[in-house]
């Protein structure tokens, strides 16, 4: 079963614009996409409907990583997942073209904090995605499964951008 994160181009453009804004010490910004899940005949769909931005004061000054979100920032994201009953997908941006990759730090941290969302929304899938300028890769933790599955991404707009359809994206 494939997992597909879908979001509108309008939402994606707003998200990327905010991720580009400089922070006074964090090397990159991160956010959480608020999604609702659905099953199709072949796939698990994560349908993005909003963004939970990490506020400036919730980053921790940590030179060992591009950005580190402090406890208060994670608590606010957990609160949003709980009150709005949404799947949360952590997102950040690698500023290059072509298929991005999670760093070792990303993979280690994803495995630590993404399953934490099951403490507040145990029945929903949660995940992490890294975007480049024209592609994306992701991981999804699905209830009942111990290891994450891969995520394809579809930006629904004019034109459509789907990571699994292009040869070199």
């Amino acid at each position: 079963m494939r997992t597909i994160l879908k979001l509108t181009a309008t939402l994606y453009d707003d998200l990327v614009q905010r991720l580009h804004e400089p922070h006074h010490f964090a090397g990159e910004r991160v956010a959480f996409l608020k999604c609702r899940p659905a099953l199709s005949a072949t796939s698990l769909l994560l349908l993005g409907g909003g963004v939970h931005h990490v506020e400036d004061e919730d980053y921790v000054d940590d030179p060992s990583a591009g950005s580190t979100v402090g406890r208060s920032g994670l608590r606010k994201a957990l609160q949003a997942a709980y009150t709005e009953a949404v799947s949360m997908v952590h997102v950040h941006l690698h500023e290059h073209r072509g298929k991005p990759r999670f760093s070792k730090t990303d993979l280690r941290e994803n495995a630590l904090f993404v399953p934490d969302f099951w403490n507040v929304q145990p029945s929903l899938p949660h995940g992490a995605v890294v975007f480049s300028f024209n592609s994306a890769v992701g991981q999804c933790w699905i209830p009942g499964q111990s290891s994450p599955s891969g995520v394809d991404v579809a930006i629904v707009g004019n034109p459509m951008r789907c990571t699994w359809k292009v040869m070199n994206g």
Binding site: T10, A38, L39, E84, G144
Partner: protein
Amino acid sequence: MGDKLNLKRQSFLGADSEIVLARSRAALVGLGGGGSHIAQQLAHIGLGNFLPIDPDLIEDTNLNRLVGATMEDVKLGTAKVDIADRVIKAVNPAAEVIKRRANWTEVTAELRDVDVIFACVDSIGCRSELEAFARRFLIPLIDIGMDVHESNGEFSISGQVMLSMPGKPCMRCMGLVTDEALAAEAARYGAAGGKPQVVWPNGTLASIAVGFFMKLVAPWETHKETPLLLEYDGDVQTVSQSNKLAYLPAHCKHFDRLNELGDPFWTPDALTIVE
């Protein structure tokens, strides 16, 4: 020369266009005068995956406009989805056609998988419900509609093609669906009879709809934005951007809530069933 469609003459659509088209999936809801035209054109451009949906069998009154249908089909009472399947496979044997002789509401799991839905349905109510479904699962919907009006003993042909893009103005924003029109349609239920339909306006509208689709999946230029609503005046044979677009909100206010996305009855147990 094998059974593979040779798309060399449309290489201007981009280096990836052949593979993108082969991996794309479109649903055709309604395989009558409009949908049958669209199915044929999508087969020619190399679309790889089709989901044609229509509960009906062909009747003799359909033969004046249903592309690919024959007199023999009328005698046999062939299903419209079978005619579409035959037309598509005759052009592109490699295409996957998952045909469903059903109402679209009976095949929603498969419909959630498509990249684009073509709405080729008659009623405003059906259009409205299909758009709500498409918005819930973030699927662009391309709607075509035509009508023949009688006035002072003469007839007038008109129609429209609309792109309902999630996040952008919807049919209600554009005035194509209104509570008054839905109520009037409900009041006429069962008494409307067969509406006049002819092949050439359907062909014009279907071609524009396929053009909308191609701009979505394999755009040949990216500087000119496709208008969301084009209007067809069949009496003078013109297609123009709708004046309604000048008064539209930037964002749709009818489908902008997070809880209107996804499966309203989500349960993780369903994942076990799929696995």
